[in-house]
């Protein structure tokens, strides 16, 4: 009982980063909260699915959350219509209400990026995973992690510049 309580507490502490990942994968904070909640409940039901000898808890749990998000996206997008759903570049209403302008700007800029770039940025720069952990999670070579991350950062820089220019134009 004590062991599972400690396990639950560890998972709860990882909830923030997992929620950020799920938010940028699903494009919706509430769906993301549900996905993380489901992932926690599933992890608690099968605590032995995590093997500490195979790596740290954080990348493992983020993988569980990622799979849950992919399941939800598959249900949302019909498999026979591989149409890329571009997220709305405007901040969502609940985000817009936040006073932190920087967050709103980053949020909108991230939403302009393709899913794969957004995902790798959140894994590295928000969740602080190293390249080996990201490579393992996304089942891609380490070199691909580096190049994808590099392209994603450049794309984010460009998106931020565009948005700042656009906001100056409006003023």
């Amino acid at each position: 009982m004590q062991r599972s309580k400690a396990f639950a507490e560890q998972l709860a502490q990882l909830g923030g980063g997992a929620h950020a990942l799920a938010t940028y994968l699903l494009g919706n904070r509430d769906d993301a909260a549900d996905a993380v909640h489901d992932a926690i409940v599933n992890a608690l039901r099968r605590p032995h699915a995590y093997n500490p000898e195979q790596g740290a808890l954080k990348p493992w749990f983020l993988s569980v959350v990622r799979h849950r998000c992919i399941d939800l996206l598959r249900r949302r997008r019909p498999a026979d219509h591989q149409v890329e759903v571009l997220p709305d570049p405007r901040p969502t209403p609940d985000r817009a209400a936040q006073t932190d302008q920087s967050l709103a700007l980053i949020d909108a800029a991230l939403n302009r990026l393709p899913d794969a770039q957004r995902e790798i940025l959140v894994l590295r720069d928000v969740n602080d995973l190293n390249y080996a952990e990201i490579a393992d999670m996304l089942t891609i070579p380490k070199g691909t992690v580096m190049s994808r991350l590099h392209r994603a950062r450049l794309a984010l820089r460009r998106a931020l510049d565009d948005m700042e220019e656009a906001s100056y134009g409006q003023d």
């Binding site: 709860a12 929620h19 909260a33 909640h37 926690i40 409940v41 590295r124 580096m146 950062r153 820089r157």
Partner: protein
């Protein structure tokens, strides 16, 4: 991916920023940074965007909801055990009361009937509800659905 005049792939800047390069590659990037203003500019931009992203998005979430999820099975177990204890206690109490009255020779037949008939009715209703619940749980197609 393009390479600079120093034969350093562009993406190695990100690897350098994240501390993911070998010592040899790190030295090549450092050499390129010393020599090329354009390379330094890109590096500064990457550094700024990484810092901006890391500082802006502070992971936060309501951990209480998770903790509640953990406590839920325990709460459910306590509710079920408590309910069972109350139900068994009430049944035992009823059986004892009914058997005492039925065995008591001083109580008239009419009085016995007045007590035993409602008790029998309650028992029949309880059995009927129990049977229906058992049948429903056996045929419920949503029983194994994970929520």
């Amino acid at each position: 991916m393009g390479k600079t005049e120093f034969d350093v792939a562009d993406e190695m800047l990100s690897g350098y920023l994240d501390g993911e390069l070998t010592q040899q590659d790190r030295q090549r990037v450092e050499h390129a940074l010393r020599q090329s203003a354009a390379y330094r500019k890109t590096f500064d931009e990457l550094k700024a965007v990484r810092a901006q992203l890391g500082q802006s998005i502070t992971p936060s979430f309501d951990g209480d909801r998770f903790r509640e999820a953990f406590r839920a099975p325990l709460n459910r177990t306590l509710v079920v055990c408590g309910g069972l204890a109350i139900a068994v206690g009430l049944i035992l109490l009823g059986v004892l009361a009914v058997s005492d009255i039925a065995a008591n020779g001083h109580v008239s037949g009419l009085r016995k009937a007045a007590v035993l008939l409602p008790a029998g009715g309650v028992l029949a209703l309880f059995v009927a509800v129990l049977r229906r619940r058992l049948r429903e749980s056996a045929t419920d197609k949503y029983n194994d659905v994970e929520i």
